[in-house]
Subunit: 114 residues, 2 copies
């Protein structure tokens, strides 16, 4: 794989769910996923084998993990091992979140390709 340089400001977004869209940069074994959540948007409870790390860049999000709520504000971060059930709910101002997945989520690669 060659070095890649992209501007997230100019990347096309793809829908994740109602009120949530994403823009992605795919590396070899990890990816960046910039997620924009409208106020109150819910990414329903789910899990995946991929490790996930993330950082709240703007706004707030409640991240429910294994049934416990974690209210996250700007510059709060998390690291979730694979196969952990989680649900994200954006706060009243919405949220901009940078997620990292390891390995690359091939379902997102397909979604980003349209």
């Amino acid at each position: 794989m060659e070095p890649q340089f992209v501007s997230f400001a100019h990347l096309d977004s793809f829908p994740l769910t109602d009120g949530a869209s994403a823009k992605a940069l795919f590396g070899e074994g990890a990816m960046l996923n910039l997620v924009e959540l409208e106020p109150g948007a819910v990414v329903a409870r789910h899990s995946h084998p991929h490790e996930q790390l993330g950082l709240i860049l703007r706004g707030s999000m409640n991240l429910e993990v294994d049934g416990a709520d974690h209210m996250l504000e700007e510059m709060d971060a998390y690291a979730l091992p694979g196969d952990v059930e989680h649900q994200g709910t954006a706060g009243p101002q919405g949220a901009l979140v940078l997620d990292v997945f390891r390995p690359v989520r091939e379902d997102y690669r397909e979604a980003a390709a349209g």
Copy 2:
């Protein structure tokens, strides 16, 4: 590894080089590294076997990769395979950069532990 939740606002930073410090969150096979660069700070040319992805959160940085300059502004991102030579130079307002390394950089784990 258990799920982790941290506030980068409250994490201790560790020095990277003159004018550059970082705060890290270590996952299983990847890590977040939030790098604060003073205006003009240089992270000298280097390489590592780890894949690196990153996003400019504030300010600007010239990322020289394999001898070519890439002037990166806010919300510009990059993905560098392992073992690629690169050098970062912060712009006149400095830069706040979120880097991702895969796998975890054990040298940074030691640096963060003090």
